[in-house]
Symmetry: C2
Subunit: 437 residues, 2 copies
């Protein structure tokens, strides 16, 4: 569920390569400087940059000012059609004007409300903020503007403004292809694979905003099972027979993707699963339990950086005496061994060590926050760590990120509030059998 | 266009009897006290009032807190089904809890976001604010809550979030009946009259919010004419032949009504006519000019309070020598004379005096604001006073409010910004022939 951290982590930078920002846009910035200057030159000749006095109008004029709104339309049209280099130029110019505004009052807010009043203004602003987040470290003065825009977006994308809608094989193809485009956890390789994800025995729900209602802002894919699922390849396999909804007792959230880098830090994602659970319960009242089958995206990277001595300490307890005699193994060697074991024959001892290390990682807190972004999301919703599954995602990505382990976060509606209190006290909730220490 | 001041005048109290607050709700407050207490008693027995610690939860708990959100649902359900006395009780209790919250931070905002996340939450909050505005002088501590809610609503009802949609005879009857219900300027007495307002040769546009899309928030009725219209009864007459759209050069905005008392002070109304003009121009490119035919709602009340001597001064100029010899007439006597003249034979002298007094009233400024609410709305949009029409609305309401005079405000797109600058400098724009002084 690697996409979710975009939404829950305002300060995370993992979103910089989010699906909505394809790699080639980053490539463009690495063009030789002379190319950039040449293109800027052409652009300046072609179409004069608005003079500072004009962009100041975008901030200062009344929201009903006809001339200022015409200028705003020109500015946003130019921005929309510009390439990255030109966009940076336009943003830098805007930030410079912004820095000179004194007293500020609501003038920054007014700029964005003016742009929002244009046709398709909300979509434009979400894209604009994505660019601001990309470039706020390179462009002086951009952070203030970005924060003002974030404040507005957090009201405009308040969960009360959103609509939860199902997506299925009857949905428009133009919408379905966005699932392929934005799926951030378990890639969808073909329309046949997509069809399996939205088949009659599965569910997919997304939050939509009426101002850009052709784009799912965040979506979750749901499977059903008689017990808690422990392997994602089984869920995704096209040959797996359809889930029998009449026997379903468990709903399994096996993929959550947020789509808009420009909405990073806006918190509607935290409401998604609770709203979906309400929907599912009203459609399938036989459901008893709700859990995720989630990746552990930062595990292998974390483990690779750990000191061997520390790991040995971690693993050494009465039931694991043999490790006390072992030679100290570096974190990187642990990663290699766990990956190898996941796809080969794993001894109970290695498997048990892997699960212990994963449990330790999942509950590790740094600067008051869980270090794993997906754990942060689900435990931040009040879920608890229910089970860690060995060899649960043996795809290349699963192996590489988490030595093929996955975790079930359990959403027990009656416990969410209490779990959150525990988390706030520094005690993330984890199932009893995973508490080795 | 008496309804518009609801939107443009946050401090006006004319909205207290807005269409959405039928008179009987005000009546209820005048019930004998023992009845109120008896009913509260019954209610307290029936259903325990939430204890203070519980309403505090509505402010303090996280927005995803399951228990707090359940409580919010109970609270809003109870509020919705309550009568006025019980609502006042609930609001007073909320205001009391609110007053004890320290430090406040965003906790007031959180309360309203929590309520907004309920089903149909936005509509609930708009109604809640209407009640707050009604009772803020009677309930201590309510103003702070009301202001916090206003701040959120001004973002949620930002014009960029609204949709401008046409209403016509093909619209659902459930929507059309809302025009009858909310029409605040020229009452609609029957479905036949309504049919005339939305006939093929007329236009009606409204702003809608996707969160409550069965309610027009503000709507304008438009007629078309070869020249600027000067009499509203002619426009409303069911016998008047259809306007010939191919010959239409003028679009006449003859009625604007806002519908939600709870959105008073939220400024989307100022965008309505400009957006409608854009729509009309794209559909009917032959249109050349855009003007209103508007009431002068405060004229007679103002004139009745004027001192006779002052009025004589006003009217006395070189061309009106006869008034210099006249005996001084009180404001009230002027009102009576103008009303009589409007429906009888008016001498040029009386007519001219009426127009002069109306022009004076329409351009009068007090505490930096035009005193007439409709003038304030249209001049605040950048329109100018183009013509004052004698005997233009001879309905009982027209006679009573404005001695049957009406005014055309001209929307000349290229002049709006300049007109506003003039207005800000204390010089409301008025056509040359109306400048007697």
């Amino acid at each position: 569920m690697g996409g979710t951290e975009l939404i829950t982590q305002p300060d995370s930078h993992t979103g910089e390569s989010a699906p909505s920002l394809p790699e080639h846009t980053l490539e463009k910035n690495r063009e030789p400087t002379h190319g950039l200057i040449a293109r800027l030159g052409r652009w300046l000749e072609r179409d004069r940059l608005p003079a500072p006095v004009e962009t100041q109008t975008l901030f200062a004029a009344r929201l009903t000012d006809v001339a200022a709104n015409r200028l705003a339309r020109q500015w946003s049209t130019r921005y929309t059609t510009a390439d990255d280099a030109e966009r940076r130029f336009l943003l830098a110019e805007l930030a410079q004007t912004s820095a000179g505004i004194e007293p500020r009052d609501d003038l920054g807010v007014r700029l964005f409300k003016r742009l929002n009043a244009q046709t398709d203004g909300l979509r434009f602003l979400v894209g604009l903020r994505a660019d601001m987040l990309r470039w706020r470290k390179q462009i002086a003065g951009l952070t203030l503007l970005e924060r003002e825009l974030e404040g507005l977006l957090s009201n405009w994308f308040d969960v009360g403004m959103l609509e939860l809608k199902p997506i299925n094989w009857d949905s428009p193809a133009s919408l379905l292809e966005k699932l392929i485009q934005y799926e951030a956890v378990h890639e969808i390789h073909s329309w046949d694979e997509l069809r399996r994800r939205v088949a009659k025995d599965r569910r997919c729900y997304a939050f939509f905003h009426p101002g850009m209602d052709d784009v799912p802002l965040i979506f979750v894919e749901v499977a059903f099972a008689p017990k808690m699922a422990d392997n994602v390849q089984v869920l995704l396999d096209m040959q797996t027979p359809p889930d029998d909804l009449s026997k379903a007792r468990w709903a399994i959230f096996y993929s959550i993707s947020s789509t808009q880098a420009g909405l990073r830090g806006i918190s509607f994602g935290n409401f998604l699963l609770k709203r979906v659970i309400d929907e599912l319960l009203s459609e399938l009242p036989n459901l008893k339990s709700f859990a995720t089958l989630s990746p552990i995206p930062g595990f292998a990277a974390w483990l690779g950086k750990q000191d061997g001595k520390v790991l040995q300490e971690l693993l050494h307890d009465r039931t694991d005496n043999q490790y006390a005699q072992d030679s100290v193994r570096s974190g990187l060697r642990w990663v290699a061994q766990l990956q190898k074991a996941a796809v080969g024959d794993a001894s109970d001892v290695v498997q048990r060590a892997g699960l212990k290390l994963a449990a330790h990682y999942l509950t590790s807190i740094k600067s008051g926050q869980l270090i794993d972004p997906v754990a942060r999301f689900h435990l931040g919703n009040g879920a608890r760590i229910e089970r860690i599954n060995w060899a649960a995602d043996c795809s290349p990505k699963g192996l590489q990120q988490s030595c093929a382990m996955m975790v079930n976060y359990l959403y027990s509606l009656d416990e969410l509030d209490e779990n959150l209190l525990q988390l706030a006290a520094g005690k993330p909730r984890i199932a009893r059998h995973l508490r080795w220490r």
